[in-house]
Every structure is written in C-alpha cells, then in structure tokens.
C-alpha cells in the first residue's frame, strides 16, 4: 500500500529531501478510475503549457468489450519526477493527487522490484518482473510500444493487459490515432 500521506501543513523547512537513487512509479491499473487528477495536478503545479503532457491518462476502449481501461502514461522527456516535491520530502504531485492510490512513487534504485533492464525477446512489447504481493506472485509490466519512444522507462504497471501497449501510439503525446473518447483533436 502507499505510504502514509505527509501532513503538509507546517514545518516544511524541517523536512528532509527525498534521497532518490532511481526515481520511478508503480501504477496499479486495478485502482485507476481515469479521473485525470494526476495530470491536471502536475500541469498546474509545474505550469505546463497547454498541449504538453508529462503524464496523460488514457481511456482505452476495451477490445470486444463495452467499457474502458484507464492507463496513466508517463512521458520520458517531459516527466521529471517532480524534483520540487522531492526536495521538500514529498511524493510527486501526481502521486499525491491520485484519489485511489493507483500511483505510487518508487525508488527503483533500492527496491526489490527493480525494473527489468532488458526486453523480453519473446514479447518485445512487454517486459515482466515478478513481485510478491498478497500471497501470490503478481506480474508487473513495463509499458513498451514500438511506436512510442517517449514512453517513460521507470514505470511498472500492475494489471497491464497484452492489448494495451499497441494502443499507446506515441506515449504521452497526443496522437490522431487515439481512440479515447476524450482529447478530441480531429
């Protein structure tokens, strides 16, 4: 579970900066509700211009289904893991903004669940790493899409399904091929 929230009222000057060796995120897709609180919080705090998305929440139509899957997608080039919050000993804004604990900030440098360093030769779109969770091994996956060089590397997803990477296209950037019912751009 996510660590306890900081109580961000007072004595901020006494807080120690987060010492992060290799910053990254865990995303629990079972918990994401597609609300965009993470990306709007990020863009507000860092005054990101319209059209740029360090992080974008995708509403992916489920194949042969009748509902959506929600996938927060991080940009390799635009996401900086919120150094301002880390310097104040806080989690990044996106993590603090998430209402359902779907996002978790992680130091992959010292985590047992280190992200994989190489691609699975049998499935280049997807790389798996196992972690112990709730009594059984749960599969964590990095999001890899052949067309999306902008995908954030150090992000591991729980609940990523095989069909999802192919829908991500250009990563966190807008793409005219997106099938989301939002971010209209035709």
């Amino acid at each position: 579970m996510a660590e306890e929230r900081p109580h961000p009222f007072e004595k901020m000057d006494e807080r120690q900066p987060r010492q992060i060796e290799r910053p990254g995120f865990h995303v629990d897709l079972r918990r994401c509700i597609g609300c965009h609180a993470c990306s709007v919080g990020c863009k507000t705090a860092h005054q990101i211009p319209l059209g740029e998305f360090p992080l974008r929440v995708r509403w992916l139509p489920r194949p042969n289904g009748e509902t959506y899957a929600f996938v927060p997608v991080f940009s390799e080039s635009l996401c900086q893991e919120d150094p301002h919050s880390l310097a104040a000993g806080l989690d990044p804004v996106c993590v603090r903004a998430c209402p359902t604990d779907a996002l978790r900030f992680t130091d992959f440098g010292d985590s047992v669940s280190s992200p994989p360093s190489h691609t699975d030769p049998e499935d280049p779109a997807r790389v798996g790493a196992g972690v112990e969770g709730e009594g059984k091994r749960e599969r964590l996956s990095a999001l890899r899409s052949a067309e999306a060089p902008d995908l954030k590397r150090d992000v591991l997803y729980r609940g990523l399904e095989d069909w999802m990477p192919a829908k991500i296209n250009q990563g966190a950037a807008l793409d005219p091929r997106d099938e989301d019912p939002i971010y209209e751009q035709d």
């Binding site: 009222f9 609300c35 009748e66 150094p83 919050s85 903004a97 209402p99 950037a173």
Partner: protein, 911 residues
C-alpha cells in the same frame, strides 16, 4: 534519457526554472490539431507575473480550505507562494474525502488566474444583449442597484426582487439578504439537479441528510442505479476511494445499471445496459425476488417500515424479473441472481443511485423503489449498509446528541409571511392559482409564497422544504405569473444551461419582463451577456464560506472555506456585495449585516466549536474523533431528561416533547416498550408507504392512474416512451469527470482534456443510421407527454447538429451528448478559440497575464485544425418538470435523428 542524466537533470531543475521541452511533440510529423511549442517569449508572457515558476514548498504557505470545483466540497489544502495559489491537494483531516481530490480541485486555480476573468463592475451601453459595456466603479454600481431595490421596497412590493442562484454555498447568507429585503424569491436550480432524488429521501427518512452516506468502506455489494461516483456524482465522489479499496482489497462487488460506458461502469464488476427510465422496474423485481426467496429482514421491516409486509408482498408480485426484463432489457436471470447476492450480503450491502435513475418522469418512484431495497434487507444504519450521517441540523433530534450548535451570528431577519388568502400578495395571483391555493390544507398555505418560490402545481417541491422548480421560472415570468422588478442572477448559467435555454434568453432580453438584470459571477458568461450591470465575484480561493455536508466517514464534521489570497482586481466576495447593498438600501436591512470584516462574521458563526478559531483555520476541518460512528441512530434511546417532559401518542407510539403542557416536536417513538429516536419523519418510521404522494396529486388534479400519485413505490413507463417506433431515440446528457456543469469550461487544463461533446452512439446505432465517427447527424427533439409543461404539442422543441462518435457500450437507443460544451461566451478557452459575439472586455481590462498563452495555445481551436469547443445543446432539451416534485426529466427526451449528408464542414450551434 539515462539514469545518470536524469539525476543530473533533477538537480538542475531544483535550482533553475522548470521550463520544459516540447521536443517530443514538435518532432512528430503528423498533421492534426496539435500544439506547436510556445516560444520563450510566449512562455514569458504566459507566466510573466511569476518571478519564479518553481513551487518551493519550503517557502510556500499551506492553507486549508474547502474545494468548490463541484458541490462535493472536499477539504483541500492550497499552496500559496508569492501571493499566488500554486497547487491544490487534499486535506488528510477531511473524514469525507480522506485527503483525496480530483482534477476539478486544480480547476479553481485556472478559474482564479483566468486571463479573461471579470475583475471590474461594468454597465451595459446600448441595448441589453448587444454586448457593449463600460467599466464603472463599485459605488456607481451599488448605488444604482440599491436605488432600484429600495424603490421596490418603498412601493411595498419587495417580492418583485427576484434572486436566482446557480451555486450558492454561503449557507444562508444570501437568504439573510433576501429575507431582510422581504422577498421570498430566492430561487435556485435544485430541480435541474437533484430534487427528484431528494424527495424520496425526505419521504423515507424525513430529511435528505444532504445525502445518504452509504458505508462503502465496509460494504461487500453495491447495486448502482445510474450513479457515477467515479466521475461526476456530486457529493458522491467521497465514495471513489472507499469503493475502489473495497473492491481491490476486500473483493466487494459493484454492479452498475447505466446507458453509457461511464468510468463507474468501466470499473464495475458488472455493467448492465438498461433501457432509459427502467431502473424502478429492476428494483421492484429485485424486491419481489428477495421477498419470494425469503431473504427479507422481516424483523427490520416490521419494526420500521410504514408499509405492512403482506400488503407490500401482494403489491409487488406483478413486478416479476421477466416483467423487468421486458422493461429494462436486463435478463431476468441476472436480476434474480443479483437480487439474491445483494440480500445475502446484508447488512454489508447498499444501493446507490443518482440522476440516472431519478431524472425521469418516473424517477421519484424509481428512487423510492431503489431505497426500498435497503429497508427490505435491513441494511439501514448498519455496517456496510445504507447510513445517514449529517452535520446539518445537529440540534434536531436524531440521535446525534452532544454536537456543538453552530449558526450564523444574529440578528437574523424575520422571514417573509406566507401568501395566504386575504393577503396583498395573494391578490396578485391568477384566479386559477388562487382557487388551488384556497383548497390547500393550512400546513401548505403556511408554506406558500407565490408561483416562483412555491409553484402551486408542484407542492412536493416545497412540502418538505423549498427546493423550487427553477427551470419553469422563465416560462412563468413570460406567462405573467409573477411580476419582476429586479432580477439578480448569482453564479447562474441559465441562459446557457437551462432546458430550452433559448426561452431563458428571450425572457432575460425582454425589458418589459425583466426591467433590470444584475449578474454576479466570476466570468463573463451567457447570463452576464444579458445583464444591465455585471459585478465581479471572488472565486472560491478568495472567499469565506461555512461548510457542512453529510459524512461518509459517519462522524459529523464541519469545515471552513477561507481565502487563500486577496481577490484579483476589484472582485469582491458576494457576502460583501450583499452587505454593501443592504447598507445602501437601509430601512433596517443593514442591521443584519453589521460586520466590517468577513472573518469576524465567520469567527462568530463558529464560536461554539470546541477548538480555537486559529486552530480551526489552520486545520480547516473540525471533527470529534471520539464520537461513536453514526450507525443505527434510530435505535438510540431518547434521554430520560427529554422523556420527563414528553408524552406518547396512544395510537402511533410517537413521542412528543411537551412545551407549556402542549405537544411540540416529535422526539422519538416507543417500540417494544423502549423509547428510541426513530427517524425524523412524522411517523418516526421509514415512509416506504407515504400518503403525501396521492394527497399532493389530488390537490393538483394529477390522475390517480399516474405512477407519481402512488402512495407506495411503483413503476410505470415514461409516457412518451410507450410504443416507441424504431426510428425514435432518446437523447441523454452527462458530465465528463474533468468538468462541472458549464462553469468549468474555462478551466484550461480541463478544457484541453475534454472540449467537445460529440454525439455518442452505439455501433449498431451507427450502422442503422449509416454513419461513422466524424460524420454529422441532426437531432430533432419532441415534446414530452404526461402531465408536464407543453405536453404533447406536435411542434418539435429544437434541432441540433453534432458530429458522431461511435462508442461500443452505448445503449443502442440512446444518444449521449455531454452538456458542458459549446459556450459562446466565457472566454477563449471555453469557446474553443472562437471569437465572442459580444464584448465583455470592459470588465477585464488590465486583466491577468497569460492572454498570449490563450490566444496561441488553444490547440483544439478550429483555427488550428481542431474540433473547436463543441455544440450548445441545452436549447433543444424540453422544459420537462416531473409532476409534483418538479425535477427536470433530463434523460427522457425522445428525438428523431437523421444523417446530414454530405457531412457539413462547419458545425452549427444548437437550433
């Protein structure tokens, strides 16, 4: 980027401005509506008031307040640096939100620093609605308004001052203003929103408790009839985290009945597409199954329900799962299976519903049927069940003893007197209305205040408390049912958002109907465009408000909205505007506004709170964590001290307090020899069977065959849905999760995520119409049937054209358009980059920085090859007030649809 370079960049970013690269986007060779990178000059212009774009948490102040992004009202914390609010996040002390927010919280920052926000009072020059304005001083504005208001008072016709708000959370402050002035016409838009939902709660439980508070944290099974707590269920967003935790951590099930694949439907364990307005049939069939399977909690029902069990059983036998399948399209086997699963999970199960079930002709009855399921399985007030917990009216007797009484400082003005036969006001009514009111019982005559405040055809809109029927107000004014002297719109978007908004605009533009129109708002919207004087309001980040609502944490609490920063420009909090008007109007009004500093007023309001004011301000929330949770309040004993001066009615066992030896308020009920609180209904029981419905129906001449006249939960088809032919569709509307009515359209980060409202249709519907995504259709809406406004008229209500988006998971009979797009005022972002037809800039001059950003980076504008800002759709929704209660039947609209061929290049605004 390698790890090493990332670390280097990280340390660099700590010391330098966080100007970010747009390389990734710029490198794309695809041509479509997409942003081009801002130049450094643009960036500077966009943020030129900020000396340092970095949010430094060590230097910034963290100030708690209450969010106003929607009416959920989460406790939040705003980070303030250099006297600018830089970020909103959750307040972990809030027992409702549990420290969570949604994207709308940060919309408040967009709204506050919106470069096209109103900053100065302005007065129209030229005809009303012509869009020509000049900036005026506050003195000039307030003198003119107060002069006109004083004249109404001096003439003895204060009721001609009509105050109409869209979103007023001053918790009685505006009522103080209208009461002190002497007008009962403090109108709202509750019927647009929630009255069909509230009436069943008040009938069942005696109050709406602001809302019910399902104990989702501990539940195992939720039946959700059209609620959308993951996105837009205002007041219900507090259930998001609780529901997801319950699902993921404890395997709780969420079952959703909906017509479109909402976020809530998407995270549900089961999403059942239902025919619109069939929720009541499903609920009653489930009740039938639960009874026949022997799964009802007979002891709870017999103790608390006003409807005898055998009579209930007899009544619902006709609602078989097979009947419900025919009505709803949900398989009988599923209805049976889900009913059994729900009942077997009791008491850790609950229903959930919102507009999806309620905003229909049969919606009040549908919600009564849904609420009945909880009573039937006895989950009411139990862990994991359907609970009631509120701060409001702590002083009332509902087992919540020991809470501090908090109330606004005195002196409170006296209320206007009812318009009983014989009064001057009564004589202003038409003969037809007079006849109806004369026939009212005295309990209603004591609550009757004319046709705008208490429309006589909708007695259940004011029987419990004054909910009003806002969508009928423009029509009533046009028909001459009430004479208006001065109309004051406060944060009201009726000219854009009411059904048949074109009628609202017609009335507002007519100086013979509305001699003077004052608008108080934070931006220049469609309502302001039809004003004579526009006054700039403070945003939620610049103002005080008392906060209270129900508590999903089951511990009553309170919070304070406090200013994080001074209002921008010359904007003023509405309370100050009303105070200064009251002082100018005089005549005794001023003594109710005897304060200089608003903080002093609110400090006194919270004087009884057991913590110091400064601590309350620092924490933003007060709660007593030592209190037991609000489970089963109805079974709590009536204290001996109260029983000592009370008597028990021999027939009903209701316990009444005695005042001077006479019966006063009911304080409990004697059950099995024990005096307990019961519910705050007249019977102190749960009003599953309630004679108020047929009673009201008889008084307004509604047929006893109409489902709305039923004393017990019942189901009937929406009149215009009977025998629909294959070419008829039902037009429905909804909110995306980043938006909140029309007010969020100028929040730039929300608008860039959702800026259009394409017509969402199912693949099979698209095939039938011969359209694909991107094609254009024409939707023609028809008048409703039944006992409603202009029922059955053959002339269509309106016609709109919109582009289609094919969405798997849509109900094949339903066409859904989000209702917050298509503004033609409200600024560049809201208009999707289109120019404004009028010029409200007089109120914005010397405005905020960032205009360069707006002009050049609304990447979805048509000018930049994008889809623009969507289509205004509210003109084509018929005014359709549910009989008796008056809630707008937003989701009943029968329409015809045709493909526009060839697809037009330009979209037209609705009608």
């Amino acid at each position: 980027m390698s790890n090493l370079s990332r670390r280097e960049f990280l340390s660099l970013a700590l010391t330098a401005s966080a100007a970010l690269s747009a390389t990734a986007i710029a490198s794309s060779g695809l041509s479509c509506a997409r942003p081009t990178p801002l130049s450094e000059e643009d960036r500077r212009l966009a943020f030129d008031s900020l000396t340092d774009t970095r949010l430094d948490y060590r230097r910034a102040r963290a100030v708690p307040t209450i969010c106003f992004g929607c009416t959920t009202h989460c406790g939040v914390i705003g980070w303030v640096q250099d006297e600018r609010v830089r970020l909103i996040e959750g307040n972990p002390l809030d027992p409702n939100s549990q420290g969570t927010i949604c994207s709308k919280a940060n919309g408040l920052i967009s709204a506050t620093y919106y470069p096209e926000r109103l900053l100065y009072p302005m007065r129209r020059v030229g005809p009303r609605g012509s869009g020509k304005w000049k900036r005026i001083s506050w003195d000039e504005a307030l003198d003119e308004i107060s002069g006109r208001m004083r004249a109404l008072r001096d003439a003895g016709t204060p009721e001609q001052f009509v105050f109409h708000y869209g979103r007023d959370k001053t918790k009685g402050f505006s009522k103080r203003f209208t009461d002190a002035f002497g007008t009962p016409n403090r109108l709202n838009r509750r019927s647009i929103c929630s009255s069909n939902r509230r009436a069943p709660l008040m009938s069942f439980y005696g109050r709406d408790f602001e809302w019910e508070s399902q104990d989702v944290e501990n539940t195992q099974f939720v039946l959700n009839f059209g609620g959308n707590p993951m996105e837009a269920y205002q007041g219900g967003l507090f259930m998001r985290k609780r529901m997801m935790d319950a699902k993921v951590d404890r395997g709780a099930k969420l079952i959703t009945f909906e017509v479109r694949p909402s976020a809530t439907a998407s995270v549900s364990d089961e999403y059942h597409k239902v025919n619109p307005a069939s929720d009541g049939a499903i609920a009653l069939a489930m009740a039938n199954v639960i009874v026949e399977e022997g799964l009802a909690d007979r002891a709870f029902w017999d103790r608390w329900s006003t409807w005898p069990f055998d009579e209930m059983r007899q009544s619902i036998t006709r609602y078989t799962p097979e009947f419900a399948e025919r009505e709803s399209g949900v398989a009988a086997a599923d209805i049976r299976r889900l009913a059994i699963a729900f009942a077997k999970a009791a008491p850790a199960c609950c229903t959930m519903s919102n507009r999806g079930s309620a905003k229909h002709y049969n919606g009040v009855q549908a919600d009564r049927a849904i609420r009945m399921l909880d009573v039937l399985v006895g989950n009411v007030g139990r862990p994991g069940g359907f609970c009631l917990s509120t701060l409001r009216m702590w002083q009332d007797r509902y087992g919540q003893e020991g809470l501090p009484v908090i109330s606004p400082p005195g002196p409170e003005p006296s209320k206007p007197l009812p318009w009983k036969p014989g009064t001057r006001e009564f004589e202003t009514l038409s003969a037809e209305v007079q006849e109806r009111v004369r026939a009212f019982p005295s309990m209603w005559q004591e609550k009757y205040f004319g046709e705008l405040a208490t429309p006589s055809e909708f007695p259940l809109s004011w029987h419990w408390y004054a909910m009003r029927v806002g969508q009928l107000v423009p029509a009533y004014i046009k028909e001459g049912r009430h004479k208006v002297g001065l109309y004051m719109s406060y944060t009201l978007g009726a000219a854009y958002g009411f059904p048949e908004a074109n009628l609202t605009r017609e009335v507002l533009a007519d100086e013979s109907l509305i001699p003077f129109h004052v608008v108080i708002d934070i931006s220049y919207g469609e309502q302001a465009a039809l004003a004579d004087i526009v006054l700039p309001d403070a945003t939620a980040l610049e103002r005080w408000d008392a906060h209270s609502t129900n508590s999903y944490g089951l511990q009553p609490y309170t919070g304070i909205r406090q200013p994080l920063v001074e209002p921008m420009g010359e904007a003023r909090p509405a309370q100050i505007i009303w105070r200064d008007l009251a002082r100018r109007i005089g005549g005794g009004m001023e003594k109710h506004f005897d304060f200089e500093d608003l903080e002093d007023f609110y400090r006194e309001w919270y004087a009884e709170l057991p913590i110091e004011w400064e601590q309350f301000k620092r924490e933003g929330i007060w709660k007593d964590e030592t209190r037991p949770l609000d489970y089963a309040l109805y079974d709590r004993p009536v204290p001996d001290a109260e029983l000592a001066n009370a008597e028990i009615d021999a027939d009903t066992q209701v316990i009444y307090a005695l005042v001077d030896g006479k019966r006063s308020n009911a304080i409990g009920i004697q059950l099995d020899g024990v005096a307990v609180r019961g519910f705050p209904t007249p019977t102190r029981k749960i009003g599953v069977k309630d004679e108020i419905f047929p009673f009201a129906a008889r008084h307004v001449g509604l047929s006893m065959d109409d489902m709305n006249a039923s004393n017990v939960p019942s189901y009937g088809k929406v009149p215009e849905h009977v025998d629909l032919d294959d070419n008829a569709y039902i037009l429905t509307t909804f909110k995306w999760n980043v938006h909140t009515q029309g007010r969020s359209a100028n929040w730039k980060h929300a608008a860039e995520i959702v800026h259009t409202n394409h017509a969402l249709i199912a693949p099979e519907t698209a095939a039938r119409l011969g359209v694909k995504t991107g094609d254009e259709i024409e939707i023609t809406t028809l008048r409703p049937k039944g006992a409603v406004y202009r029922a059955g008229e053959s002339e269509p209500v309106g016609v709109l054209r919109n582009k289609v988006r094919v969405v798997p998971g849509m109900h094949s009979r339903v066409i859904a358009c989000a209702h917050h797009s298509g503004h033609w005022e409200h600024g560049t972002v809201a208009r999707g980059g289109e120019p404004s037809p009028s010029d409200g800039r007089a109120g914005m001059t010397q405005g905020l920085p960032g205009q360069a950003e707006l002009a050049r980076s609304v990447w979805w504008s048509k000018e930049r090859g994008g889809p623009g800002g969507g289509v205004a759709i509210n003109d084509v929704y018929p005014i359709n007030a549910q009989p008796l209660v008056g809630g707008q039947n937003w989701f009943d609209n029968v329409c015809r649809v045709r493909r526009v061929s060839p697809p037009a290049l330009d979209q037209e605004r609705g009608s």
